[in-house]
Amino acid sequence: MAGRMRMRARMSGDVAEVKVLMQHPMETGQRKDSEGKPIPAHYIKEVMATLGDRTVMAAQWGAAISQNPYLSFRIKDAKKGDTVKVSWTDNKGETASTEAKIG
């Protein structure tokens, strides 16, 4: 199942700490389901994070990132109320994104 995301962004000192959970199976293509059928590879390849229009983090992932990925990063020169947006694209071209105001 893919699509849902949860993000928390909070000031900690003068740095904004961002924690993101993404619902995604992150299938490597080497696993089988309970009926023994192989499950095709299905994983997030690119992740982007912006603060307003400034890119604050970009990532390239392989299938070795764990299922329902967790990501945390820290942004300088950010303040309460700014909007952080995180989005991803997977190997099937599906995308999802979420945004939150820094608390």
Partner: protein, 152 residues
């Protein structure tokens, strides 16, 4: 019941994904080229050389991994670089079929710190590769992976 369940959840997932149509198009960001050769490498050395010339060991990289993981499917790791002008942090897992797991671009104004969770196939080293001021540095940490549960 299960098949019904799957179609229901897919519908919910697709709806959420479509709602994200308005996001920034990723392709446009030139700095984001994907080191395909590194991701396709099947040994740590191959992956590292695909990322750049030989990486020097550095104690300025704090790589935190658990000494023993109850399950290799989800191993929390965090990487903090104290090297000035850090621009990229990569994570490699020695014994995985494809050791190269992730690469994080750290733009100006973002802390050289990353936390995530990776799959670790078997007991072995986890490497953090940091690109700082154009040079490549590395640190490693051993994580033991056990078969959790009662063996049943």
């Amino acid at each position: 019941m299960d098949a019904y369940r799957r179609s229901l959840l897919k519908a919910v997932g697709a709806a959420t994904a479509l709602a994200a149509a308005g996001m920034v198009p990723l392709r446009a960001l030139a700095a984001m080229s994907r080191p395909e050769k590194a991701f396709e490498a099947t040994d740590p050395q191959g992956a590292m050389t695909a990322l750049g010339d030989s990486a020097a060991e550095s104690d300025q990289i704090e790589l935190e991994t658990p000494d023993i993981a109850e399950n290799g499917a989800v191993v929390p790791i965090s990487v903090t670089s104290k090297l000035p002008k850090t621009t990229r942090i990569s994570v490699l897992v020695e014994k995985n079929p494809n050791p190269m797991s992730a690469m994080f671009m750290i733009p100006e104004g973002t802390e050289p710190f990353i936390q995530t969770r990776v799959k670790v196939a078997e007991t072995g080293n986890i490497y953090a590769l940091v690109e700082a001021d154009g040079k490549l540095y590395k640190a490693s940490s051993q994580t033991k992976v056990t078969l959790g549960g009662c063996g049943g």
